[in-house]
């Protein structure tokens, strides 16, 4: 059974986890032991790409060529990028899909995310000593179709098979539910670095049923940091220096540290040092001041909470437990506001940074067929519809519908010999097309016929990833029709293929490394089996045979610790050939025993 691992691809930090026996575990960095990989990617002047701590270290010096919080840009077009973000990053284009202007060439958000995914995969392969190819990746529950698709694309670009996207609060509920063995109604409040989700679930005999979800994919700890940095820049830094990228990014760094410190202390020291700009500022920051500066941001999370409860037809007091997820829930102000809203103390004893990755690993284990005692029933977070006459959105699938789900629509033509029907798919809760998010345009080909004659049935299916699939069939001919998809804010299949091809040179090293690991794993298995047979079936050895096998064993042992995977492969084969007669004798004997047993049974 091929292993599937779980990945939490976070705005601020990312993690990778697997199930060890029955227990989900996060995999730490081999050197530092830290399970968190900062979701920061630095494009260095020499063409090298750094991910994680190394990238974070150069962030203050190279703010424009280091991408952090790339998750905020997944599945977006340039028109969705705020002026604040335009100040912080350099973009390659003014319109279309978001592409970062970086030294070598522009990168889309999925490409940047792919660097993070590769770093996580490397970590897991080194730890598990086996190739890792299949993954489950978590996404904010409130991610729309484009954002989900972009996440899947990132996986593909990293050479991974994304078996499933799982909603972050749902993943957290899995880890929570399995840990606490509790049943009832729970609310998962997930305030991460860049996104906010609230999900209401019913836990019942191993079923995790999402009743409603809501959120804001542009609301998180990032906003709190930015607000605090702005507050500090405005009150303490001379106006001429406020917009200097170095000063601004250093200010963010120190205020972020101060925010963390204020989760445990009533006051802390802020120290901003940018010698080349002659900036040396030290001052005290109190928790009260922090809370006053960001209170409205925290309050913004409550409207989605209210809506989710309403959609689930519940009141705050009916919730049995409130589970806190995401690093930002460490802030006392967040805990206080959530506690007031639900009228109960939120549960904070799970590690808010790790619980999502652990849940992803558990779900990965189910998908790998290793676990049958639990099941997720998730929902689509936003209503899905199509554009109709007059720019009105006609809803086909309501938000909070359990997935997978589908709906069929019948189409015909308006003019004679029309050869195609265009379908514009949207997501959102508003009435007008212009207020909803455009997902994609689909073109369904039709055989030319008089107007109104063709009958084409289009099926809109939302799969278990929350991603839309469209299929069409001509009811007159009974033939399936291909559907041409133009994503509004994403990469087409051809573009992904091209990017994959382009990355092959770059990935040469990757491939070599994978082959080394694969050869090593195979060698280990063979060596283990051979040792066992030598011990268990010594009686079947012919004179001199053991010495020959032992020689092949030590040759292979030596080869597999090196990097030459071809030599390892050759020696695997050699050991196989030398020990084949021995293995055959063992086999004959066991068959004989089985047959013998049968004979006895008959008598």
């Amino acid at each position: 059974m091929e292993r599937i691992v779980g990945i939490d691809l976070g705005t601020t930090n990312s993690l990778i986890a697997f199930v060890d026996g029955d227990t989900p575990r996060v995999i730490p960095d081999a050197q530092t032991g830290d399970p968190l990989l900062p979701s920061v990617v630095a494009f260095l002047p020499d063409g090298q790409v750094e991910v994680g701590q190394g990238a974070k270290a150069v962030l203050a010096d190279q703010p424009l060529t280091t991408v952090q919080s790339v998750k905020r840009f997944m599945g977006l077009g340039m028109e969705h990028v705020s002026t604040e973000d335009r100040r912080r990053y350099r973009f390659a284009d003014e319109t279309g899909i978001v592409r970062f202007a970086l030294p070598s060439h522009p990168y889309t958000a999925p490409e940047v995310s792919a660097f993070i995914l590769r770093a996580l995969r490397d970590r897991a392969e080194a730890y598990l000593k086996e190739p890792v190819r299949k993954v489950v990746i978590t996404v904010p529950a409130y991610f729309n179709d484009s954002q989900r698709q972009a996440t899947k694309d990132a996986g593909r670009l990293a050479g991974l098979e994304v078996v499933r996207l799982v909603n972050e609060p749902t993943a957290a509920s899995l880890a929570y539910g399995l840990d606490k063995k509790e049943e009832g109604l729970i609310a998962v409040y997930d305030l991460g670095g860049g996104t906010f989700d609230i999900s209401v679930l019913r836990l019942h005999t191993g079923i995790f049923e999402v009743l409603a979800t809501n959120g804001d994919t542009r609301l998180g700890g990032d906003d709190i940091d930015q607000r605090l940095a702005d507050h500090f820049l405005l009150s303490d830094v001379p106006e001429a220096l406020r917009h200097d990228p170095h000063v601004a990014s250093n200010a963010r760094r120190v205020t972020e540290q101060a925010k963390r410190a204020l989760s445990d202390h009533d006051e802390t020291q802020l120290r901003l040092e940018v010698p080349e700009k002659r900036v040396h500022i030290t001052r005290t920051l109190t928790r009260k001041e922090l809370e006053a500066a960001v209170d409205d941001i925290v309050a913004r999370t409550l409207a989605p909470c209210r809506q989710a409860l309403k959609d689930a037809s519940l009141t705050p007091h009916e919730i049995d437990e409130v589970v806190m997820v995401g690093g930002s829930t460490r802030m006392p102000l967040v805990r206080q506001r959530v506690g007031e809203f639900f009228g109960r103390e939120p549960l904070t004893d799970l590690n808010p940074d790790e619980v999502v990755a652990l849940g992803a690993a558990v779900q990965a284990d189910t998908l790998a067929g290793r676990r049958k005692d639990m099941l997720l029933l998730d929902v689509v977070p936003l209503s899905l519809g199509i554009e109709t006459m007059g720019g009105v959105m006609s809803r086909l699938i309501e938000r909070n519908t359990t997935i997978p789900t589908s709906v069929k629509e019948m189409y015909t033509t308006a003019v004679d010999d029309q050869t195609a029907v265009d379908i514009h798919v949207l997501q959102g809760e508003r009435e007008l097309v212009q207020d909803c998010r455009s997902l994609a345009r689909f073109k369904v080909p039709i055989e030319p016929q008089p107007a109104g004659m063709p009958r084409v049935e289009v099926t809109f299916m939302i799969d278990a990833n929350g991603i839309l699939n469209v299929a069409a069939s001509d009811l007159r001919t009974g033939r399936e029709r291909s559907v041409e998809v133009k994503p509004s804010y994403g990469l087409t299949d051809e573009e992904i293929e091209r990017l994959l091809e382009e990355s092959i040179d770059f990935a040469e090293d990757d491939v070599t490394r994978r082959l080394v690991i694969e050869a090593r794993t195979e060698a280990d298995t063979l060596l283990h089996v051979t040792e066992k047979q030598l011990r268990q079936y010594a009686a079947f050895l012919e004179p001199g045979e053991e010495a020959r096998i032992r020689a092949a064993v030590s040759a292979l042992q030596e080869a597999k610790s090196g990097e030459d995977y071809n030599r390892t492969r050759d020696l695997i084969e050699e050991l196989g050939t030398i020990s084949a007669p021995f293995a055959q004798r063992i086999m004959d004997k066991s068959i004989g025993e089985v047959l013998g047993g049968k004979e006895l049974g008959k008598v």
């Binding site: 078996v163 191993g206 189910t366 998908l367 099941l375 359990t402 789900t405 589908s406 799969d463």
Partner: protein
């Protein structure tokens, strides 16, 4: 209605009535797409049902059908599991709530609410008029900066509408319970239609009140 339709198991070729799993080899079966929602749950075709039992049954079937459990299965199993789960989810959504179940039952009788939905049902006319008048007053007061004094007013309207909704739901439950009776009144169908359209209208009205209520609390 295809409840009695026969299926041939893709795995063991056993012929059996349309059920989710083959009675002989228990392989997951692909139900005909036009099957009614009651049959998906193996329930008799009648609109009064035990909702708690339905939920238990939904969980039980999901636990055996869900695509997550067939990731490593054959193409036939994956396909049948996905299509059946889609069907099961839709069926559960339609049947789990009294009102949506009533609407589905109406559809099965070949009827729909259609355009009538937009007209004020005569039985609600007086109520609608009264509520809209009060809403206008509340809005005026709010815009004049006197939000506080209207809060009690709006709360009273909400209580009133909730009571009306409860009354209509009780009537709807009674209506749905009578469909099993062989000698049922011919009025049952028109009554069902009227109740559903009143409920739909009341919901729209409640939404307006809800909106004003939110504006009031945010003022």
């Amino acid at each position: 209605m295809t409840t009695g339709a026969a299926l041939r198991c893709w795995r063991c070729a056993h012929e059996h009535p349309a059920t989710l799993f083959c009675p002989q080899c228990s392989a997951v079966q692909q139900l005909p797409p036009q099957i009614d929602y009651f049959s998906v749950f193996g329930l008799p075709l009648r609109p009064a049902i035990d909702e708690a039992a339905l939920t238990r049954q939904y969980y039980e079937l999901s636990r055996r059908l869900h695509p997550d459990l067939y990731q490593t299965g054959t193409v036939e199993e994956k396909d049948a599991s996905l299509k059946n789960t889609v069907l099961l989810n839709r069926a559960y959504r339609a049947l789990r709530d009294l009102v949506s179940r009533g609407q589905y039952w109406l559809e099965l009788q070949g009827e729909s609410l259609g355009k009538e939905n937009n007209r004020v049902p005569p039985t609600l006319a007086a109520l609608v008029f009264e509520v809209q008048e009060k809403l206008a007053e509340v809005r005026e007061a709010r815009e004049a900066g006197k939000a506080e004094s209207s809060k009690a007013e709006i709360a009273a309207i909400r209580t009133d509408l909730d009571g009306q909704m409860q009354r209509l739901r009780t009537l709807l439950a009674e209506n749905l319970a009578q469909w099993v009776n062989e000698s049922r009144s011919p009025d049952l169908l028109p009554q069902l239609k009227r109740l559903l359209s009143e409920i739909a209208y009341l919901r729209t009205l409640s939404r307006d009140v809800e909106k004003e209520s939110e504006a009031l609390w945010n003022a």
